[in-house]
Symmetry: C2
Subunit: 421 residues, 2 copies
């Protein structure tokens, strides 16, 4: 008997048949005595369909007023799927009620299309749970201080579910998706990749931001902040599998510290081939240079990932960073036209869009020396040249030629023994 939050992704809600299966699964949990709150995404394809219509009609210049209407529009997808799930639960003989974000209410700031949750009122939900109802709460959306609908950005339903779980002090938040958990790396690249039973939320944070697209990164941040135990598991098992077995399946993302964690030094290998590398060579080594370069890039709304500046030689240095590949050409042009003239003399901009980033992630790295050197040796043995290196407490990333990506991931997966349970 516990309060449990389930979240179902768009694929799990993709047809009436699938919605019925979700209802049967939720009903099973409710009949086992749990208080159930469910956060569904829109039916798969619906958000894209709606935003596609908007795009055909959109003004050339995007304004806040336009973003507001996008949120009015896109939020309907979750409202519809939530009502359908409530109906399906009624069809399974369960009392059920659905609430749009504004009805709960889920309060957010006013940053349309990428709002952040500020607070959740749990009164209405608690009253319904006490009355024995399954409560459906629309994902992805909220209401701002002026009564406008907001949405949380792509994947925002994960964040909604975690935020609701935090507000309700839920025992666990189960994220049902089309994969059966979090793997040591992408099984399409390394067939020996292994599903982890547990992973720390800090590791998950690094994995998510590095391209393991299982969970929206903000949902993991939220789970860490409010210590919500989060479980990623498959919605494509039979709905009537044993509930105890289901409750143990998938991957638990936990805020508990190391003693309970699996003891591996490195937990997983993340990778990302969406990036491009840009270097500004021969930069005079004086204060304000990094801001002069990156300030201009940020002003153009380009997000920067890895940043490297090396020791200077003869009063000048090389400054490198990575951006999303879609922003590559734009950023190089910007630097050449607007920034170089102000840097003086010998500076030059060079870039390479055919790179990738490979990272090893593990909470164990904090206390283990030699992890990075194992990584570098392993890559060297495969004849892979490392172009950039960046490290943090629980991750080490390298930028390499994209053609070596799969080779590097497989070699590292093996080098750190990740195929072994």
């Amino acid at each position: 008997m516990a309060l449990i939050v389930h979240k179902y992704g768009g694929t799990s809600m993709g047809s009436t048949e699938r919605i019925r299966n979700v209802a049967k699964r939720v009903a099973k949990w409710a009949r086992a005595g749990h208080q159930m709150v469910v956060v569904p995404s829109a039916m798969s394809g619906e958000t894209n369909r709606l935003l596609g219509l908007a795009k055909e009609l959109a003004p050339a210049k995007h304004s806040d007023a336009y973003s507001r209407e996008l949120d009015m529009l896109a939020s309907t997808g979750e409202q519809a799927s939530s009502a359908l799930l409530a109906i399906a639960l009624q069809g399974e003989g369960m009392e059920s009620v659905s609430y749009a974000g504004w009805q709960v209410p889920i309060r957010t700031d006013s940053a349309y299309t990428k709002a952040r949750i500020e607070s959740i009122d749990d009164l209405r939900i608690r009253a319904d749970l006490a009355a024995g109802k399954v409560v459906i709460v629309t994902g992805f959306q909220g209401i701002d201080g002026d009564g406008h609908i907001t949405t949380l950005g792509r994947g925002g339903s994960d964040t909604s579910a975690v935020a609701v779980a935090a507000a309700m002090k839920a025992h666990e938040c189960l994220i049902y998706t089309d994969v059966d958990g979090v793997y040591t790396t992408d099984p399409r690249v390394v067939p020996e990749a292994r599903r982890m039973n547990k992973v720390s939320f800090e590791e998950m944070l690094e994995m998510a931001s590095l391209g393991s697209k299982v969970l929206q990164i903000r949902s993991v941040e939220f789970a860490g902040k409010y210590k919500v135990p989060l479980r990623v598991l498959s919605s494509f098992t039979d709905w009537d599998i044993d509930i105890e077995e289901e409750a143990r399946s998938g991957t638990l993302i936990t805020f508990e510290e190391a003693e309970n964690m699996e003891q591996a030094v490195v937990s997983g290998i993340a990778f990302n081939r969406d990036e491009a590398k840009i270097s500004v060579l021969g930069v005079p080594d004086k204060p304000g240079i990094a801001y002069q370069i990156l300030g201009a890039v940020a002003d153009a709304n380009v997000e920067v990932d890895v940043i490297i500046q090396n020791l200077s030689k003869n009063g000048s240095t090389d400054f490198s960073f990575t951006v999303h590949r879609n922003d590559f050409a734009k950023t190089v042009d910007l630097l050449k036209d607007k920034v170089l003239p102000g840097l003086g003399g010998a500076t030059e901009v060079v870039g390479d869009a055919k790179i990738c980033k490979v990272s090893i992630v593990g909470i164990g790295m904090r206390s283990h020396v030699g992890v990075a050197s194992t990584m570098f040796r392993s890559l060297s043995e495969e004849g892979i040249n490392i172009q950039m290196i960046s490290t943090s407490e629980i991750k080490t990333s390298v930028v390499i030629d994209e053609k070596y990506m799969e080779l590097a991931v497989r070699a590292l997966h093996k080098a750190f023994g990740l195929e072994q349970a």
Copy 2:
């Protein structure tokens, strides 16, 4: 310079191209100096699509909780089309904002799927109009006292538009639809049918209830109650036709009295072949009999239209009424099983589903004698037998064999000179 409400039906909102045309038309009105409030329906087909999904998942026994979810679901159609129209207006360079029913708010009672509007708060709309914005208000929906979404039933967007026009004291409410006005009868039956420039709201009420499906009947009642001038016109003219010409087109439904009305005694011919006739013969003529029969019918949620009871002979009488054809078999069975046993002796139930109802409607009938007799003579000249007659102040209806329907409508259209302007 006036405050004008436009309402666009689902067909007018049926694609992004059509939504763009609506936006261009509304922008034209706004640029001519009018304050514009627009109430759109859902894109055509959307409400049926959503309710179709619900039907696949619905519980066998429909409850209030189920109806609540239907409203959560169906209301998304108008929210999406309203946001798209606001975006299209922004695309035309107009400032625009859309509001869902609960944001205005449009307050209703709690009768899910067939709620009635109780009040509309005009503060938010007025503020936006004053700021030079075109305001889009979702049709078809509202919010009840407990914060639940409600819908107004099929065609409810007409009622929303009229209610908004009443609340805003609009100069006129223009209902854009796929026909270019209200005709003296259906032009598919009588090619000579003529579009009326004006019709009284009382006549329109009779026309609407009798099957001229141009406007939801409640919207006409509302317009009459609050004296909102209502105009039905086509959304399929070129959007850039002269605005003065457009403002005079279609049919004006007016609450003004006869002096300004067209002087015809009979304004139009309505007809309906969705009905069936049921007679209970040999009913003892004593108090309470009508209730005994119709009370049982009402309890079974069957709506009754025409009711006739003739003079009694030898202490017994015949009692006849019409119901929707879909309810025919159910009602006959009900009467035989539940009602006849309590009526005693000689009673018998007979029925005929192959009938139709033809009505002449005209505010001029109030003060003109001989209108009904012209109707009866005209039908008699065509050899059409009248099975039932029912009259009110501004209409006379007859029930006849359905095979004579077109013949009767054409003959009456001619007899009352309706083809002449």
